[in-house]
């Protein structure tokens, strides 16, 4: 490594596809082991896993818990991006994917870890939505009033 990059030890932590102006903060001991930051492939973002502990639909909404907001300074990359993106209002998996420019599959894997760790709270779709007469009736009334 030469030149400007050598002067800034964190410069390489900004992946070119991320629309980020500032380099990432230095590593903290609690950070997620995802390599040196040059890893841009989906399998690297997810630590090589493609299976999830919690199934998340495209529309499942996520919101950072108090623990999750506290952990913001301690986590990195997609973990931090996801927590930051939904630290106030709940956001769906699809919205996180679109806003962070990360494939849906990656959001699913990383977010399901964050849920398991208590950093994210999930709002799942109604299990049998097609049979839920009450919910459908409410939905119709709501759409009519739009």
């Amino acid at each position: 490594m030469r030149g400007a990059e050598a002067d800034d030890p964190h410069a390489q932590l900004v992946r070119p596809f991320l629309d980020r102006k500032q380099p990432l903060k230095p590593l903290s001991p609690d950070s997620y082991a995802l390599g040196a930051g040059s890893a841009v492939r989906a399998y690297a973002m997810t630590g090589g896993r493609s299976h999830v502990s919690v199934h998340l639909e495209f529309e499942t909404m996520l919101q950072a818990t108090a623990d999750g907001r506290e952990a913001l300074t301690a986590v990195r990359f997609e973990r931090a991006d996801i927590l930051r993106q939904c630290q106030n209002d709940p956001q769906s998996v699809a919205e996180l994917s679109a806003r962070l420019h990360v494939p849906i599959g990656v959001v699913r894997v990383v977010a399901s870890d964050l849920i398991a760790e208590g950093y994210l709270k999930a709002f799942y779709p109604s299990a049998n939505v097609a049979d839920d007469v009450l919910l459908i009736t409410k939905l119709i009334a709501g759409v009519r009033a739009l």
Binding site: T60, M61, I136, A141
Partner: protein, 198 residues
């Protein structure tokens, strides 16, 4: 949208399908609270047509871009509308997207009716409630609703309506047409199961 403790949003998903250029993104945008966002998802597809080599199944994974919008319907329900491409030489396996979807709107460009065939086949074969909405594109209709129904051999239980993907009111009406089908089906099912258990 602030969420009260113990009571969070309930996300509900609808799918807007149709051929390329049928107006899916416009349709979603007409009713969405946010400018439609684009996401990418890997979809498993099975090669068809030119790739078909007898009974050899050529399973591949393709990345599909989807535009979607979000509507805060009331203080709890958040409606997501996913526009998804349905015209392709691949028969996309949409199961991942359709999982949990309340229903679908198949948008038809009346100049290219045949583009909506794959979507209609898909929803019909999986018993997903859907309506067929012919996009007027601001007044122009190249075929009547009856002609479209006949051309696509759409069963009597499926509404065929006209819409204008650019108009919020027309889009709202089309979504209500779909929700009506969904409600009828849910009520019929509730009635059947209460007869069985009672």
């Amino acid at each position: 949208m602030p969420s009260k403790p113990g009571k969070g949003p309930i996300p509900v998903k609808l799918v807007v399908a149709g051929g390329f250029g049928a107006g899916k993104t416009t349709f979603v945008g007409a009713i969405s609270d946010i400018k439609p966002l684009t996401t990418e998802a890997a979809m498993t597809s099975y090669g068809e047509g030119v790739d078909n080599r007898g009974d050899v199944s050529t399973k591949t994974t393709t990345t599909v871009a989807m535009d979607f919008g979000r509507v805060a319907v009331d203080d709890s329900i958040v409606l997501y509308l996913f526009g998804t491409p349905g015209q392709d030489r691949f028969g996309f396996m949409w199961n991942d997207l359709i999982q949990g979807a309340l229903g679908a709107v198949v948008l038809v460009d009346s100049r290219r009716i045949e583009d909506s065939f794959p979507s209609i086949d898909y929803f019909e074969s999986r018993s997903v409630p859907f309506v067929v909405a012919v996009n007027r594109f601001g007044g122009q209709m190249f075929h009547t609703v009856d002609e479209v129904r006949e051309a696509l051999s759409i069963s009597a239980g499926v509404p065929v309506v006209t819409t204008d993907a650019r108009g919020r009111l027309a889009v709202k009406e089309t979504v209500l047409n779909l929700l009506d089908v969904v409600l009828q089906r849910a009520m019929a099912k509730a009635k059947t199961s209460s007869l069985v258990s009672g």
